[in-house]
């Protein structure tokens, strides 16, 4: 006997998986990962006495920190903060790619200024909109390219004071530290650092991210707001995956849910993170290309 449910289930299973192919290099990634894990175990075994002593000291100050790969949450957080500092000191480019292929972002903070780029795709491989912001101490240039209308727009303005990270950590705030897009790379990284430093992210073990057994840090925040029509609840779940070797974030995700008496609003962001060395080729990715034949307009749109 076959029911509508079973038929639908088979149909949906086919729909969901249609056209999905095994990515090349999966076996190689598995081999590398296995080799790295074996090496990590060997290294850990060699330094057992020191590691245990250090872990005990840190655990004593952090209460119920979860132990992953022989390290406490406090240790992981400290290493991640340090890795972010190092990456920015080296002027590395932070490159984020939405896991559903809908957008890419670049953040760069160099000795001569900063540059960000945000590209949105209307379909896989088809750009829909491209925005770039390049700032020097003297000026700021914003470029927009609209692929639907085949137009582009550019504006130059005097440099505005760049948004600075808050001097004081807002750990006591009920509102979660957002990792959302910001014009200043410094603020973006400061937000991640703050989330780590405030202990808002808790360790949730390891999970594979692009072949790396990454450490998964999660925070869930709930904010209830009383409105005339009733109380709404804003739930934000932030997840940060950290490379166990470099301690740099390799993926982050944020999921917002607003629930009220009559409706539920939900949205989410899920991006892979790469750290690119500031070579000429990588820096060139920060420039917004104007495709040939596109017309310059005085107003964006």
């Amino acid at each position: 006997m076959s029911t509508e449910l079973e038929d639908r289930l088979r149909w949906e299973m086919r729909e969901v998986t249609a056209g999905v192919r095994v990515p090349p290099g999966l076996a190689r990634r598995a081999w590398r990962n296995r080799r790295r894990r074996i090496m990590t175990r060997a290294t850990a075994a060699a330094g057992t006495a020191a590691a245990v002593a250090a872990a005990l000291v840190v655990a004593g100050t952090t209460g119920a920190s979860r132990d992953v790969g022989g390290h406490t949450t406090a240790y992981i957080v400290k290493q991640a903060e340090s890795a972010l500092d190092t990456a920015w000191a080296a002027n590395d480019i932070m490159y984020l790619r939405a896991t559903d292929g809908t957008a890419e972002r670049w953040f760069y903070l160099g000795p001569q200024g900063s540059a960000n780029r945000f590209e949105v795709f209307s379909a896989p491989g088809q750009p829909g909109m491209d925005i770039g912001v390049a700032a020097t101490p003297a000026s700021r240039t914003i470029t927009w390219v609209f692929y639907r209308t085949k137009t582009w727009w550019r504006m130059r303005q005097a440099a505005a004071p760049a948004p600075q990270p808050a001097a004081q950590k807002s750990c006591s705030s009920q509102i979660p530290v957002s990792l959302d897009v910001d014009e200043s790379p410094a603020v973006l990284v400061a937000n991640i650092r703050e989330a780590l430093a405030c202990g808002q992210l808790t360790n949730e073990g390891t999970q594979y991210v692009n072949g790396v057994a990454a450490i998964k840090l999660v925070s869930v925040h709930i904010l209830r707001v009383k409105l005339r029509a009733g109380t709404i609840t804003i739930t934000t779940r932030t997840t940060l995956w950290v490379d166990p070797a470099s301690y740099l974030p390799v993926r982050w995700a944020e999921d917002w849910r607003v629930t009220g008496r009559t409706r539920i609003v939900r949205t989410s962001v899920n991006e892979d993170v790469e750290w690119l060395t500031p070579t000429s080729a990588n820096l060139a990715q920060l420039a917004v290309p104007i495709p040939p034949g596109f017309r310059q307009v005085s107003q964006p749109g």
């Binding site: 088979r10 999905v20 999966l26 296995r34 869930v220």
Partner: protein, 180 residues
Amino acid sequence: MTADRLVARLEEFLAERGEPLLHAAILLTGSKEGGEDLLQAALERTWRRWRAIEGDPEGYLRRAMYNLAADGWRRQRRWRARLALLRGAHDGIEPDRSGQVDQRDELVRLLLRLPPGQRAAIVLRYWDGLSEAEAAAVLGCSASTVRSATARGLRRLRELSGITAAAAVRSTGQGGTAQR
């Protein structure tokens, strides 16, 4: 066999035969990324065996994949229990939907809400097209366990989706004719 040759052999195997495994992994984890990760993890787990496997390696990989998925689900369930404490008992817990499959695929999405055993049984029966006995061999349990897990899973899916059994039944012959 050197590591490079083994990797090359595995890549070749995955290119030829890996697709059904990846598709099952996607259904088990609820996302393409999760499916790739699960398949890769299964490869790692079975790595030592690969040098010795002369025949069909697919069975080893499938078994490892299903076992890993069950492990992942157990961890997730523990975490959900902790989340419930953080969020308050009145606030319903929903699965992590990061990188999730298309929202329009209602039943596949609802699979995420089934216990691991039921979910695995359903994917094995209705995606892999295995008989109860074959599914039992993969899961390391009896055929009757697979039968009851499948039945309970389908009943739960029916409840969650609002598809009533009485209205939807179209008699087409023998029960459990799982096929792709």
